[in-house]
């Protein structure tokens, strides 16, 4: 028997043992059984590591007798893609998923060796049950270590669309995000089982939730970058079912990150937070179901199979058990919620949750509606990007507006005077920006709503920072830069959160810019001919050809001019992969902060030497990527330990009114 396969078989036994012992140990209060279950969980992690190492070794040593290796690699595949072929096929991606899940489980167990001992048996049981599910798939349904009856001389190679830098980091990021969502879920379920429904489980999983959100954000963004560079249609988000699958848990996780603050501060929304945690986990499983099942066609489904029923079964069981536990504990979860005023941070967070979950539902609804239509009417329909854009654009703008309003409204109660003091200046700045845009000739409905709203949010954040910095300057006499650094450092959650909001605003600006003001042109040129787009003149200077054992390249040379000055030379490519024989498009981009000039070589006729190009000018698209960087920075700041104490905050507030933090 293959060592990897043996490791997975023993891994399944260990995982099942871990589930049984942790549950029995938890219910019968046998610490030794719980400890044994945890040891079995560590063993499962070790065995999964052995299985992954075995598959990796087979890949890098080109063991084409192994079906997986023959299907997803070749001798000419560069070493980095040979390694990432680990998740390029279905069996490998499930194994990689299991590795992340068992690793996360091991870290959670290590973190909680001395803490949360009453919750841990059930946390272990939930995480290891998920591992059991994946191990069952890997042992019985889609085993990765199948041998062929013969040894092919060469492998069929990795799908060329996956041979891209972003595909090396997009799936791991997304998997880490998906899998980490299981941690707050496991603690939530443990809280329901034990009846320890206070905020311990919330505080324990806060960083894990942020961690999951961080990687879900990165995963979505890396996927968008991949689509932008590889699919060559000038866009980065097509509302494809697989994209939607990754987006939905991000939305509910974002809602949870906001509403959980209300539970932490006021012990409210316990039921709602539990619902969000369960929903986010179920959506990660649903997302995997969408990718694997083939129920809904997708350009991203590289590894479709008949795994759908298994995932839907697991999803149904997880949903039923979670719901039953929730209903069982409902009386204890219901708190005597109170609110001092309708105008408060709590209210804005509730509306923010409503819109985030509303968008998640709209995405879910649009994704499954074709299936629903076929069931109900027997008619196949398409729910494409225009539907998602039309439904989500207004909801997105409301969300953007709430992003601006929320931080400016005080917790508990905000009097009209404070609302006016906090909201009027940023609102005036946003309004003024709208007037300027209108005067400058902007006539787009969405542009005239979105940009001023973005400016409003940004102005509010700047105002918040300004007040904080001024307060520190007045009390401690720091210079503005030091005051800014200390301000963030002393209340990382709040000011890190604002940085994340800046990133979100940048993304909204990019989405508006590329949706409303995109320019595009298709031209067929002979050598030395030119065409103009977006203030550039583009001259076609001929075709270069190159061939390697792996790929044949057809590379056009385009000189980019502004006036008479050469500002760039772009070389869009057609690539012809030799195994499997498949052409791909490699776009060439001149990226500036204002706009991307995005060039695609469509075709080339050897006889006439005519080349056809698609050219796009995507305004503000770089804000999408930089917005991602800003979000990452903000999240890292928010996750860092330490910060200001409640006493310090209260003291500072006592001296300087209600919205500052000093030492």
């Amino acid at each position: 028997m293959e060592v990897g396969a043996l490791a997975l078989t023993i891994g399944l036994v260990c995982a099942a043992y871990s589930v049984a012992m942790s549950l029995a140990g938890g219910f019968l209060r046998r610490r030794d059984w719980v400890a044994s279950a945890e040891h079995a969980a560590y063993a499962t992690w070790g065995l999964t590591l052995i299985a992954v190492a075995w598959l990796l070794n087979a890949l890098v040593s080109h063991d084409f007798n192994m079906e997986y290796v023959a299907s997803y690699s070749s001798t000419t595949l560069p070493w980095n893609y040979t390694v990432t072929a680990l998740w390029g096929g279905q069996q490998g991606s499930l194994l990689f998923w299991l590795l992340i899940l068992t690793s996360v489980t091991a870290v959670v167990l290590l973190q909680n060796r001395e803490r949360n001992r009453d919750l841990m048996p059930y946390v272990t049981a939930v995480l290891m049950t998920t591992s059991v599910f994946f191990l069952v798939l890997l042992n019985f349904v889609t085993p990765p270590f199948q041998r062929l009856a013969f040894t092919p001389a060469e492998g069929r190679d990795l799908n060329p669309l996956l041979q891209n830098y972003w595909m090396q980091i997009h799936p791991p990021s997304l998997y880490i995000g998906f899998v980490s969502c299981a941690v707050p879920f496991a603690f939530g379920i443990a809280a329901l089982v034990t009846g320890k429904l206070g905020d311990v489980w919330i505080r324990t999983t806060r960083r894990w939730t942020l961690f999951a959100w961080f990687f879900l954000s990165l995963g979505n963004l890396f996927g968008a970058e991949w689509a932008y560079l590889v699919l060559g249609w000038g866009g980065y988000w097509a509302w494809d079912p697989v994209e939607n699958a990754a987006f939905m848990p991000w939305l509910t996780c974002t809602a949870f990150l906001h509403s959980v603050m209300i539970q932490e501060k006021k012990n409210m929304l316990k039921v709602w937070n539990m619902v969000l945690v369960i929903l986010t986990f179920l959506l990660t499983i649903f997302g995997t179901f969408l990718t694997r099942s083939g129920v809904i066609s997708s350009v991203h489904s590289f590894t479709q199979s008949g795994l759908g029923p298994f995932f839907i079964g697991f999803l149904a069981i997880a949903a039923v058990i979670s719901l039953a536990l929730l209903l069982w504990r409902l009386p204890q979860l219901k708190s005597e919620n109170e609110l001092d005023s309708l105008v408060s941070r709590e209210s804005t967070f509730l509306f923010n949750n409503l819109v985030l979950v509303g968008i998640a539902f709209a995405v879910f609804w649009g994704t499954v509606f074709p299936v629903l239509s076929e069931w109900v009417r027997g008619v196949k329909i398409t729910v494409g990007p225009p539907f998602f854009n039309k439904v989500n654009a207004p909801l997105g703008l409301i969300l953007l507006f709430l992003t601006g309003v929320g931080p400016l409204i005080a917790w508990r109660r905000a009097g009209w005077q404070s609302v006016r003091r906090n909201l009027v200046p940023p609102f005036a700045v946003g309004f003024a920006s709208g007037v300027v845009l209108l005067a400058a000739g902007m006539r787009s409905y969405w542009g005239l709503i979105s940009f001023p709203t973005a400016v409003f949010v940004l102005a509010g954040i700047v105002m918040e920072y300004y007040r904080g910095v001024r307060a520190r300057q007045a009390v401690i006499g720091e210079n503005p830069l030091v005051a800014l650094v200390h301000l963030i450092g002393k209340n990382r959650r709040r000011y890190g959160g604002y940085i994340i909001h800046i990133g979100v605003v940048m993304m909204f600006a990019a989405i508006t810019g590329t949706s409303v003001f995109k320019q595009e042109q298709q031209v067929t040129l002979s050598t030395s001919q030119t065409f103009a787009i977006g203030g550039y003149t583009l001259r076609y200077d001929g075709i270069e050809q190159e061939s390697t054992p792996h790929i044949a390249y057809l590379r056009a040379k385009i000189t980019v001019l502004q006036g008479d000055k050469v500002v760039d030379v772009l070389k869009p490519e057609k690539r012809f992969y030799k195994k499997p024989e498949q052409p791909t498009t490699e776009v060439a981009i001149r990226s500036t902060l204002g706009a991307d000039l995005y060039l695609v070589l469509g075709s080339f006729d050897d006889a006439t030497q005519l080349a056809t190009f698609l050219a796009y000018v995507n305004p503000l698209v770089s804000f999408l990527w930089w917005g991602g960087v800003v979000i990452a920075l903000g999240t890292v700041i928010t996750m860092l330990p330490g910060g200001v104490t409640a006493r310090e905050t209260a003291m500072a507030a006592g001296r300087f009114g209600d919205r500052v933090v000093v030492e």
Partner: protein, 161 residues
């Protein structure tokens, strides 16, 4: 509404009045019809966005759009032609008739319903807070509680982050 909120409201009203004036009311264009149709090559994109030059689906569909437009048909008539020929799946969005209408209405109806629920919940919580704050006259500790709550209120206000 207190006087203090007037500047906000005024700006909002002016903004809402100005924006419709800026709207474009162009007639349907070739691109709009392209975007209303889904390419059948499996790319999942609209006919407009499909970048497969030489695409066996997008190219004939574009030619057909031009041919239909040259007959002077308006957008609904052109889309009706495509639906009749290729079936409803050719449309990039569900129609707004019959069962398909639920695709469009449900998300907004749910958000509206959720919004109403949130507003009622908030009002219930606030009234509960007011009831508790008022206390009962027969309660011998009421005045002490009120005094304590006043202090708590003030400290919590100051504690605001």
């Amino acid at each position: 509404m207190p006087r203090s909120s007037h500047p906000l409201v005024s700006m909002l009203v002016v903004a809402l009045l100005l924006i419709p004036a800026a709207l474009r009311a162009d007639a349907p264009t070739f691109q709009e019809i392209e975007e209303s149709l889904t390419c059948q090559c499996g790319c999942g994109l609209t006919v407009h966005s499909c970048n497969h030059l030489g695409c066996g689906s997008a190219l004939p569909l574009r030619a057909e759009i031009r041919e239909q437009m040259s007959q002077g048909k308006d957008k609904p008539a052109i889309l009706a032609h495509f639906v009749e020929k290729y079936g409803e799946k050719i449309l990039s969005s569900p129609t707004t008739k019959g069962f398909n209408l639920t695709a469009w209405v449900t998300p907004f109806a749910l958000v509206a319903l959720g919004g109403t629920f949130v507003i009622f919940t908030l009002m219930r919580w606030r009234s509960r807070s007011h009831v508790q704050r008022s206390g009962t006259p027969a309660d011998p500790h009421a005045s002490a509680q009120t005094e304590y709550e006043k202090i708590l209120e003030r400290e919590l206000k100051e504690f605001d982050t």
